[in-house]
Point group: C3
Chain length 679, copies 3
């Protein structure tokens, strides 16, 4: 049974072990006085519970928990497996992860372990059990966090234990070497395996030319390793926790099927959000304004895993490791803005990272609410105000996010882009392009993961779904899409669809492969666009649609209708956008990627309707989000600009914070937020 | 006796093992129907002949060869040593190459082996012999390819076997440690060796400061290793092949004396040409238009090895590994254009890579003629048309390429540029500059390698030779150049000439060292140009010659005449270009590098004559090539632009394709080609 | 007792072993004829003294020394420990340094050893003693150089011997694991050590997140290792040298407390200066003109170590390793210009590198005075003229450099910037900004190292001192600064002051921490500036002060006065510059970094007075330096431009070179220098 938060709650990450014990009580008092009612603790504190191998002591955190119990603070307790003690890695170097080149990661950072060492599994299992046994019944505890940010820092594993586990994974999955060789296309370049012992995790090759089908399996294996490591801990915690206490883990990192992990091991999902990565001095985000707003990309993804989620780490100061990530401090108002962005997308629990900036170690610049000097400051004041705002928002808790349409994603295709540079080009272009287009046009979308068991059911909620580049396709998914369309849905897909199966091998079918019966198109020619020619485009009536990066040249099959044709190029006049009616629905096939400029017209052609028509008008710098529950609707307005923003409410509304009736033109202050109940 | 193709032939690379055996017959039929009469096969198929150590089976390819024999397809059979089986590298890791840091390259790519492991030599020798024995007399076979693209991916070897072989190489070359220490200048930084056991391949040093003389020897050693690996296979194949079947290898990669390898081990040389590397999205080619035309750089080099050569892999689609090289598809016409470029430069055999794009592995984006869906397409139609055009060109086969002059190259100097950044700057600048200048001015040139035994004889064919930067010089070469000049030739050299001997040590002579008797110049001062000063230039009469990168400040010696002097600089007014008459000829010494802008005037000063005067006028986007045989002359016109190009024929001519008489102004279509016989 | 040069001396670096012995005599004769009276030799010649382990021979250099003695040449003899023989590293690989990843650096370069291997210490100690014993009493010798450029190429050490030595260093420094854990903040990320055996040099971690406090200790350890390696040799040399012969080492490299090394092990410090690094083609110097002038940055630092120092290597030609650093030749006049820059800053000994360009090895492009051909040239003529000029400068020798103010530095803060990217941003910006500002404004400064024992005494000489970013602070230093101010000094500090202690941990005090009693400021908010907002600035009266990179938002405490406030930003109107009067002096706290543009106004506000008012006016391209001794004053004028420069002398003066009386407007030739005695 999934955990459901029953009220908006503000929390904070706290490290009792970083501060003199004398400070605990006053810290807790100040938190509570400022609206913070939960602390997350202990996720890097193995040595405090097992200072030497097999010597356990639980007094330290019991004193802290008792204090919490005394003053009414609730606690999320973390398992400490992300940072093994020095004694452990020194005695058992086999627990360490290594680089592809074979250099072991050593003590001095974090996440230097591997998931597959039997030794590490044994020692982790023991410490988790000891901790669960010691604190599981403590009344202050309300939840458990497993490890910390699985797959953060690196999601590649090359230890000997990983090599052995990967061999077992392959053996289990493929059964015979014949199956394995066929699935991995080992005939190419004479890679045929003749003994299981020859298999290993993919290692260094000349020119970095690794078997792409093996790489996809390898990422699946990494995901499985992380999930099974998480499940191992969850199973223990389940035995010792009190009824009602939830189990979670935090962050949203690559090479994990986070949906499956949540489904199989967790009660609820929590995410860590740091919008200001966008403005670090070594920043590599896409150019443009309001880049902090792009944090929504991961919030949308989180919502797809768990509609009512938590933010375990909400940015509360400048972020930076001591050796990299030089970021400016959040401007006044931005903490609330970003916190409200999380809430707008479905967060019911918002826990700021961290109470007070650490004075030592790698994260002295990962600033907390309080600065080193511990005094009250503008950030604490924002937290207090935010907590007050959330109190006024109580009716919204548990309301559903309303999307204009859905975008389809799946882990197979995402993981295929890791090695496949051709796939990555189109995947990344459309991911960025669709986000920017829908942000600019106020067309919020949901993500649906087609590889998850509940995909068919979820799809039915949306009149239009976009599957930008379903490169890898199988019959089950094709059938699912067909059923969706035949039942009246509209499916919009882009270039490069359906030319691979789930092993990553190309299918010997006319493209888009298994999707051809849906699209009624035939791709007889295709090419990257080139900087040696004028910019590629297509025309749909009067509309010019840019068509950069890649072009599938479409031939419409019987029954299909050409909506747009390519401009100046060797395929001028050929089809770029083709519509096929199927059952009660439609399939649109677009021969290129989705961009900020072309997506609005393409989405309109697919029938995506303005969500806020009759509700509100706002510049694109203001994010709009609509939440609904029990017939009530709430509108979130979030201004990402340092300047005032004018919005217009088309219908009467009421401010949740002040109760004031609002309508017509309203001015949001710089970085200002507003939540209104719509009549 | 060198192999001589007797007619233009179109081939294709084919991998029977990548496709169901049921497809073979239809594939062969379609090839033949489209003008393809030869297939290259089997070069990555070790496991199909030796699935387990010592277990040999030859049925598979015999079935394929028999089918070829049956339907009239000819076969080039590849030895499979570029991709050792998994069982081999697993059991014998000593056969693997490693990075300089010592990480072994593992199974999963290709070319991960080293040339010097006795184990690998033994196992390669056995498989080649078994294959040669099994198929050597098969009537379908017409030739053999050894390995695949020797030194592709990497040309550096650091395995233990390489260390040992290098030690032996040095011992054999130098005899005594005293000789070795002198030749390698080990006195510097106390590098003196006192025991052969102290020697190893050059490994990691602080600041990457490796002994440059050792590095040159190391590259010579790598070349020897590759050649002897090739020779080992050639010797076996010679024992088993049928009379008339040729032995070759393919590609043109660094750190191999390809001339010597061809002379000593091969019957004919074949090259792999992919002009569209120029337009990959991660492209690093020089800026500017028509970059695909630069593929000629390697065709000229190939012609110097073997005037009538083959193209084993001619680009037939977009190229790309799955993990890199995102290139656009060839535009309609470009396959023929590029194929005709190969033919213009001397290719008599043109084998497209590959029949059908592979559906698995690293090269799913190294597109073949057919796409994954195997249907007829525009590329197959181009192949067919190309084959038809070649039939009409039959009289041209075996004709000689006509050059306006020759450029001198040698492996010693090329290899010296690998470590020597000063040498590399001038070498690369002039290589690029001369190519662009001669392309723009329609002054095609031949390459002559002065370090090869036939250099003196070859030189006599050219009234003018340019030796851009003969940094390394010895008396034998200086004598050879003097003889060439005294017999009436004109020699043009650039800056930095003659300051090193063949060990890479600097000579204690006034520069240009051993060449001073030829140039009658004295370099008393020299410098890189600097971005802190205005652009360097010289003036020759009214002509401004840019003189970037490096300037030798020349003092003319007795008898020499100053043709140009430097402009604004601290050496303003001093000689930049000096002419010396010697015997019946002349030597011109230019104090800087050759660029696209200065080379035309410098070549004119050296007496290079327009080759196409009275024949044709064409824009630089059209490549002109002249071929001669038995008193007949043919002109190739190749249009690299996506637009029409106007050319003028000054004399009557006849189209080889249509037989039509042509003269005056002619319009080539976009990417169009034309071959005419001149009256 | 420190060595004091008693007259200006010109030397040269010479390698007898690089040339046939027959050339020695003529080389020495030509040196002497051109004003060179000292040669530095033998620093890479271990094998010539110990060709095989334990076999010693000293004839070679004795012949050279005797020849020197005979012709009147003096010698600085180098110990050969920077380049161990091949037999040594082959037999004892434990003496090698390695990369962080564990790859050993091998024979073939230089400085591939580690300082801590007991084996290497033993063998170095023996060869130094044998050499000292053999040559210590030779009359030609005047001094000794230890090793060569300690910490050049790399200043990171990862061998096993370093791991062990670091463990011992930590044990000695901290005594108990409890102390160590507290000082290194190991509570963070569970890094607590429970056994000394768990400690090692910092190695690879995921995401490169290494413990910053450990890193600072590690650099301190590297410095100690280098110094103790140097001391070991110095102790031996002291036992064998003749009275009056000095001991030195050369260069100025990172991760060494050069002040302490000089104080504890050396008699005098010598520096290597190559101003033309600024114009290498792979140059990464700051943009702008006259970058060679930036060599002064290291000369100022050298002067702080040793006011009357030597230049062991003064650039005499283009510099470059064979594999990198492609630099133009010095223009005519630049050798004297740069040599005179060294003299102006306090060099009494100037030794050019090198006599003749080496014809072999990595440094064939590290050009000497003579070229490979050994003929007289313009560079030799410059050396001769330079030597003549120095003779005329005899009265200036030993005069003090006069600075307008002082800048405070310390090794703790410098080393903290190695890992700490936030600290590095402000440190580097202000270092560059202050140098450029003071160069443009003719405000020469001295460096004072506050972490050295003589800091308090030195400070008293300056009415104004700038401590740009005293990030790390302790009570002793704070007291010292307070005493300086209370005695009448003016202290100017920038942003980010005082927030760390000497372990690198942040202090839980209002910023600027221990400096708050001095500044009377409180930093309640702070942030990097961001490219998402307009450029940050402050206004002081009418003056606009740019305030890039980082802003501390200052709150003035009681008694403090606001001198400037921030402009457009969220902290608009808040204090950017605050003055506090304390005792007889003042403290100015500036909330940002120092730049070329804002520093002039900030220095003026601090009371820095124009040093050359009433003496001379000159454009910024002319460096002015004032030297004083026994009531006499000399002015150096150095023109870094390729064009003439006009300067004005406001008072009568006399040219030291010509004796001519000079006043009013004077024209310096391109790259010209002039030294005048002021009346």
């Amino acid at each position: 049974m999934a955990h459901q938060w029953n009220r908006y709650t503000v929390g904070v990450c706290y490290y009792p072990e970083h501060w003199p014990e004398e400070m605990w009580q006053e810290d807790l008092r100040r938190m509570l006085a400022n609206g913070i009612t939960v602390v997350r603790i202990a996720e890097f504190a193995w040595s405090l519970c097992e200072p030497r191998e097999g010597e356990f002591t639980f007094d330290y955190f019991r004193r802290f928990l008792d204090l919490c119990g005394h003053c009414g603070m609730k606690v999320i307790f973390g398992t400490p497996t992300a940072t093994p003690p020095a004694w452990l890695t020194h005695k058992y170097p086999e627990v360490l992860n290594s680089t592809m080149e074979g250099t072991l990661y050593r003590h001095g950072g974090r996440r230097h372990y591997n998931y597959n060492s039997p030794t590490y599994r044994r020692l982790c299992s023991r410490i988790v059990e000891k901790i669960a046994e010691a604190y599981g019944q403590h009344p202050a505890i309300v939840g458990w966090q497993i490890d910390n940010e699985l797959n953060c820092e690196t999601d590649e594993f090359y230890s000997q234990a990983d090599g052995e586990a990967f061999r077992q994974y392959l053996r289990k999955k493929f059964g015979t070497l014949e199956n394995l060789n066929r699935a991995l296309g080992t005939t190419f370049w004479n890679q045929t395996y003749t003994d299981w012992a020859e298999l290993d995790v993919p290692r260094l090759t000349p020119g970095t030319g690794r078997n792409p089908h093996m790489m996809v399996e390898y990422i699946r294996f990494v995901s499985e390793s992380a999930i099974s490591f998480c499940e191992m801990q969850a199973a223990i915690l389940r035995r010792y926790r009190k009824p009602g206490d939830f189990i979670t883990t935090n962050g949203l990192f690559a090479s994990i099927d986070n949906h499956r992990m949540t489904r199989e091991a967790l009660d609820v999902y929590t995410h860590d959000t740091y919008p200001n990565f966008a403005y670090g001095l070594d920043n590599v985000s896409p150019e443009g304004d309001l880049r902090d707003r792009w944090a929504a990309l991961k919030l949308i993804q989180t919502r797809s895993i768990c509609p009512h989620f938590g933010i375990m780490e909400q940015q509360s100061g400048a972020n930076g490791w001591v050796n990299r990530l030089e970021a400016p401090a959040p401007r006044p108002g931005q903490m609330i803005l970003w916190g409200m962005q999380s809430v707008a997308h479905g967060a019911d629990y918002v826990s700021f990272f961290r109470w007070r900036t650490c004075t030592m170690g790698t994260e002295i610049y990962w600033h907390g609410i309080l600065d080193y000097d511990s005094r009250d400051n503008r950030k604490l004041a924002e937290v207090k105000r935010f907590a007050g705002m959330l109190e006024k928002l109580a009716p919204v808790c548990g309301a559903d996010y309303t999307a204009a349409f859905a975008i389809l994603e799946d882990y197979d295709n995402e993981w295929d882009t890791r090695l496949d540079a051709w796939h990555r080009r189109v995947y990344q272009a459309s991911k960025d392009g669709l986000f920017e287009a829908t942000a600019r046009e106020h067309l919020p979308y949901d993500l649906v993961y087609i590889d998850q068991p509940d995909a068919a059911e979820k799809l039915q909620r949306y009149p239009v779904v976009v599957y930008p580049h379903p490169v890898m396709m199988d019959q089950r998914r094709a059938d699912l899409l067909r059923a969706y369309v035949e039942n009246g849905g509209t499916l919009l897909i882009g270039c490069r669809s359906g030319y691979k199966d789930l092993t990553g091998q190309c299918v010997m079918l006319p493209q888009p492969g298994l999707l051809q019966p849906l699209t009624a198109t035939d791709v007889r020619d295709f090419t990257f666009t080139t900087f040696a020619e004028p910019e590629s485009f297509a025309t749909m009536g009067e509309t010019r649609l840019e068509s950069p990066v890649f072009n599938d040249i479409l031939t419409p099959l019987e029954g299909a209708q050409v909506l747009a044709t390519y401009g100046e190029s060797y395929y001028k006049g050929q089809a770029a956008l083709v519509e096929n009616r199927l059952g009660k629905g439609r399939v649109l096939h677009w021969g290129s990627v989705f961009t900020a400029k072309n997506a609005p017209a393409l989405l309109a052609a697919a029938g995506v309707k303005p969500l806020f028509a009759g509700i509100a008008d706002a510049p694109w710098s203001v994010e709009l989000a609509l939440r609904e529950k029990d017939g009530k609707r709430w509108l979130f307005l979030l201004n990402y600009l340092a300047a005032e923003a004018d919005v217009t409410l088309h219908a009467p509304a009421r401010s949740m914070e002040t109760g004031e009736a609002l309508s017509g033109r309203i001015t949001l202050p710089p970085y200002g937020t507003l939540v209104v109940e719509l009549d």
